[in-house]
Amino acid sequence: MSGRSSGGGTRLVPYLQVAPLALFTIAFVGIPIMTLLALSFWQTDGISIYREFTLENYRELFTSGLTYRLFYTTIKFALITLVATTIIGFTCSYFLVFHVRSLKWQIALLLVCTIPFWTSNVIRMISWIPFLGREGLFNRAIMSMGLTSEPLDFLLYSQFSVVLTYIHLYTLFMIVPIFNSMAKINPNIIEAARDAGASGWQILTTIIIPLSRTGIALGAIFVVTLVMGDFFVARVMSGGQAASVVSAMKNQIDNLFYPQAAAMAILLIVVVALLVSAILRVVDIRSELAK
């Protein structure tokens, strides 16, 4: 009550408290997106940009079959990666939480999972090439075992190698949040389920998976946004055969078609936002985290 008497000063306090984050968000998220949005409605002739309103960039975008093919490929990569990283991430976390009983070993093994992250993404990605290539380790190994007479071509510079690299790069983003929500499950709850007569499989499906869903959803958001925003892996690992949305955008930028690239970027933001909101619709992360 005494605060009330100081009048305007009190009313300002909450605004001052949110100001740092608000300013940061406006400067580094709001302004760039507004710029992008404005740019996507301007005209260009490939040499210079004219600040005149046009819907031409979007018309071109939506009428080109290439756009749909790009989004189809990118979303396909995202979903395959999502499924694979979820299965691997869930299994690893399950092992760490429920089979490794001592906290010391749990932390040690989780750190082992992060070891690949001590080098850069590029190095981890490139290191697949000598392994998967025509003359690579894998092909030589299976040929020397007599399993095949010809080297397998699909291993490298293919959609397979792109997805494989994504899975390798992003599984940790799945393991950590799932591990986190699984570690919060009170072991007594699992005993209570067993006491009620539930089998191991029933405990998994009725208790552990529902209670890990926050972690799965958080991991899914990481993986989907990372794959949707990638162009480097798609370009290098496919040997230029598969194009992702962002790699197409990069081509446009290289050719100085900034407004077209901006329109594509806006569409990508919308699609990613829809995917993320679909994930949030399944799991209410905010209320789960508040618990």
Binding site: N188, A192, A196, G197, A198
Partner: protein, 372 residues
């Protein structure tokens, strides 16, 4: 029902590495009885309970429920239901789904199991909260849900792991009454682990006092209280003073004459063979001790009053008698207030020889929780 829910524990040992949490225990719990297991933390009572529930496997020995060997039977298929100390409700399921969980894993159809769960919730007076999540309930309500979830499996034996320890005093007393009523109504065996003496005395048909993985005494509450087996049981259950002395001979009535510190003579009716010269321990109920005018040197003790607590119906007077333990007298409040005692005053106490209870058991520990 009673034969079906009788429990026989034979030579059961549970070792965790080199530590024997439960050490070669034999115990029979009558079907349909209320059994309380009591002891300080780390005494093995919870481990024994968990072995009956099937959450731990005995290292050796057998456990029978209703005559059937369930030592290695699967948890959830041996007719037991365990109520966990922190309730362990499923946080993502509504009360109905929590209670219906065991029916769900048995494959009972949705409508049927929800109806049964609703009935069980009504029984614990929570029917109106059926669609809430556990986190929206108070501690007492969560406990009743845990009870409903355990009972819906129609267990032969209900196991309760410190069920009242998380509740406040008022709720604890109310739940205590409710548990006893429920046990009478259902007629199944309840095994209740606790570390609170009044709880065990009030509820149990059979009290099992444990220490260091061993059963010190298993008997009715009245027996435990009036005829404790060892100094440990007497101290742990409370209400007793433990004294000791050297046997010097026998009197005409066959009682052992025991000489305590300061040359005071005690007559103790022995319950086992004793030899002259050996040390003998005995207990005296605190409420059977009178105040005397002078030291008589016979079934008596004198000391300095060091603490006086008014308890409503009686007054607790603690004396320093120069022994290791305080000597405590419970005086009727009218007797006390007729002539109140000042702290620092010398007080003489005496009692009838018949109040001396020979403690046969050797466990002389104080009953404090282990430091481990």
């Amino acid at each position: 029902m009673s034969e079906q829910s009788r429990i026989d524990i034979r030579s059961v040992t549970k070792a965790f590495g080199a530590v024997k949490a439960v050490n070669n225990v034999d115990l029979t719990i009558d079907g349909g009885s209320y059994c309380c297991m009591i002891g300080p933390s780390g005494c093995g009572k919870t481990t024994l309970l968990r072995m009956i529930a099937g959450h731990e496997q005995p290292t050796s020995g057998t456990i029978r429920i209703g005559g059937e060997d369930v030592t290695h039977a699967r948890t959830g298929s041996r007719g037991t239901a365990l109520m966990f100390q922190n309730y362990a409700l499923f946080p993502h399921l509504t009360l109905t789904d929590n209670v219906a969980f065991s029916l769900r894993v048995k494959g009972v159809a949705g409508d049927d199991r929800r109806r049964q769960a609703k009935e069980m919730l009504d029984r614990v007076q929570l029917g109106h909260l059926a669609d809430r999540l556990p986190s929206e309930l108070s501690g007492g309500q969560q406990q009743r849900v845990a009870l409903a979830r355990a009972l819906i499996t129609n267990p032969k034996v209900l196991l309760l792991d410190e069920p009242l320890s998380a509740l406040d005093e008022f709720l604890r007393l109310r739940m205590r009454v409710e548990l006893k009523r429920l046990q009478n109504e259902l007629g199944i065996t309840f095994i209740h682990v606790t570390h609170t003496q009044p709880e065990a005395i009030a509820l149990a048909d059979q009290v099992v006092v444990m220490d260091h993985g061993l059963i010190e005494q298993a008997a009715s509450p009245r027996d435990i209280y009036n005829h404790p087996h060892s100094p440990y049981v007497a101290r742990f259950m409370g209400g007793q003073n433990v004294l000791s002395g050297t046997v010097t001979g026998r009197d005409t009535e066959g009682r052992a004459t025991v000489e305590g510190s300061g040359g005071i003579r005690y007559d103790v009716a022995t319950e086992a063979a004793v030899e002259t010269g050996q040390e003998l321990r005995f207990s005296v109920r605190r409420d059977h001790i009178r105040r005397a005018e002078a030291a008589s040197g016979h079934n008596s003790l004198s000391g300095t009053a060091i603490n006086i607590e008014y308890q409503g119906t009686f007054v607790k007077v603690a004396l320093d008698t120069g022994l290791r333990e305080e000597f405590i007298i419970y005086m009727q409040d009218d007797a006390y207030f007729a002539r109140p005692i000042e702290v620092g005053e010398t007080v003489h106490a005496e009692w009838d020889a018949a109040q001396n209870h020979h403690l046969i058991g050797l466990n002389n520990s104080t009953g404090n929780p282990h430091e481990d």
